[in-house]
Symmetry: C2
Subunit: 236 residues, 2 copies
Amino acid sequence: VSVGPRRALIGVLGGMGPAATIDFLSKIMRATPASSDQEHVPLIVHDVPQIADRSTAILSGSDAPWPGLLAGVQRLERSNVTLIAIPCNAAHFWHERLSRATSVRVAHIADAVRLQIQGRGRRISRLALMAARGTIAADVYGRRLDGLVDELMVPAPAVQDLIERSIRAVKAGAPATALAAEAAERLLHTGADELLLACTELPIAMAGTPSETRCIDPTDALARLCVRASLDESLW
Amino acid sequence: VSVGPRRALIGVLGGMGPAATIDFLSKIMRATPASSDQEHVPLIVHDVPQIADRSTAILSGSDAPWPGLLAGVQRLERSNVTLIAIPCNAAHFWHERLSRATSVRVAHIADAVRLQIQGRGRRISRLALMAARGTIAADVYGRRLDGLVDELMVPAPAVQDLIERSIRAVKAGAPATALAAEAAERLLHTGADELLLACTELPIAMAGTPSETRCIDPTDALARLCVRASLDESLW
């Protein structure tokens, strides 16, 4: 029942949050070379936001998000996707366990970032980690950027507070840009060379700000990985 | 495995095209009263653009889109959605047949528009139909707007040509706004009171233009219908 060039079906475990999933789908679309509908990446999107907050659960030692994450992965597996992507950084705390629970390959967002930095061919001296507290605590990026980043800077508490408020504002549909932009400015002032927007709400908040050119966008990196996985038959 | 207020799961038969699906998801999100992820509408999105062009098929008497449409509806049914929405106007040529093929209710985009016009409490004298030729030929809106619209104006060939070019431009990721805006201006000049953007690429092309305030957006009407269906337990 398929028309057009061959494409692998990609599964998206989304809804964390809904705006981040839409941003991710937009980035997949923009990264796809296509002049008609039929050339685009086929996706099954599990866009179910009724999953407990990931960052809060990590910080409190709760496993509340797990059943929802597992149900989503199982539903995508039943849809015969060839790769699963999760546009939520904190959810990668459960990445290894999700990978073991399914026969489908689950992409890791930090591997997508690693590939992108490797593609540039030069190391980053000081990379500031803009993320939810749970993502920082879970060390989602740590060892996956080994050898590519000299220092992964964790924001001071006052800056972290701005970041958390910005993330919550995106989730609430409220103005979030000024909060994220101020956090970014402060991190660049205190010696960061680049900023890792390691919460999928942050690329939305930072869009159009002057510091955007100094940012690495994991949502975009994961989108590009999905496009390659769908279009390049040698990877199937 | 669900957290937060009760919501009905909505199925989206999307990918026709990918930009239209993203626009539809954005409109669902914006129409939902929510201050956290968990309050948003849960969705399963079948975002598979490898379906033959609907307008071309209608005009040539081909049934090529049918197997892909049916496969999508069946997959959504297996995901236990309570309602299926199709953000593609031309695909509604197959609406009745799809409805018969599944036990799940399939919303009709023209019914969503009808509800929206009824909500205003006044008739429209002359409504211009901006749509792909196939949607016009299939009469997707015709009788469903009976009693609410005095005259459904079909564009002259030169204006229709602008509309078709604008639709194709959105699908190709090319500039589409000037084409759609010129078509809209001409229709308003020749006596249309309002414009029905009856191809899901057209609200994208018309966004931000001066004529936008004179437009009825079926994508938005369908999104609002889905939000009501998900949130209002009395409709389950």
